[in-house]
Symmetry: C2
Subunit: 135 residues, 2 copies
Amino acid sequence: MLALLTLVDHYHQGDPLQIRQIAAQQHIPDRYLEQLLATLRRSGLVCSQRGARGGYSLAREPWKITLLEIIRCIEGRESQGQTPPPASLTIERAVVHEIWQEADQAANHVLENCTLQDLCDRKAAQQQIGLMYYI
Amino acid sequence: MLALLTLVDHYHQGDPLQIRQIAAQQHIPDRYLEQLLATLRRSGLVCSQRGARGGYSLAREPWKITLLEIIRCIEGRESQGQTPPPASLTIERAVVHEIWQEADQAANHVLENCTLQDLCDRKAAQQQIGLMYYI
DNA sequence: CATAATCTCCGATGGAGAACCGGAGTATAC
DNA sequence: GTATACTCCGGTTCTCCATCGGAGATTATG
């Protein structure tokens, strides 16, 4: 997520950003970030350019990527986000499963209506608030 | 949760339910259920009666126990539900943390407005639907 | 074309938490 | 006082996350 925000900041430039730079800027171990970005690449959220002067860039405009998509990619590398209905399906299990799904959907609704661009806008707003202290 | 539903079913009777019976009815390993119920007891959601003819019973009326309370008890044995704001607090981390909180609150809102009694009512409704197939 | 820079793939490690089992102790109805 | 329960404590296994290291593939550039 932090890495993606860094990519948004860099989006208007044409050249890709390298793992090293993103990692350093956000204080994330680069070897770990590499894995996450690889996952996002396989899901088609970011593009990678191999070789010298390579790096990563967003595959789409930042206002067309919702946070829900990102979460789905990350958590859905093995376990599908939709928890499968429990094996031995008694009525109580079904009912509990249902309410859980509802809570999950409520959270997803928030994430679905927030794009990377929105997050960046918030960041900008926060920064302005921060500036106010010094003026 | 399943165990608590069983306790609700038994709520109008005065006598407590034993771990064995709950576990057998809901197909939960009893040694594990014991741990969970102990946690709920320490949180004051259920009462226990030791000794022969002992067992567990709800500490409050089922319509006065929300699912959020239950979740908080279970997940909050060590980690406080509110994820603490990240240590190295850059602006991006704060913003990401904020949206996560919002999603979490949306889910909690659903769980807050659902009591054990509500779940039982749903169960009853489901059972009626099930009956319709046979009539 | 050689080379350095960079992503890519794969395997390994350590820690945390969940799920689970077993034993020794304690309280209580009968 | 004894059988029946809960209670406490420790241990095992399993999975997932975070992390690191190495060998290989790809490409801009001189």
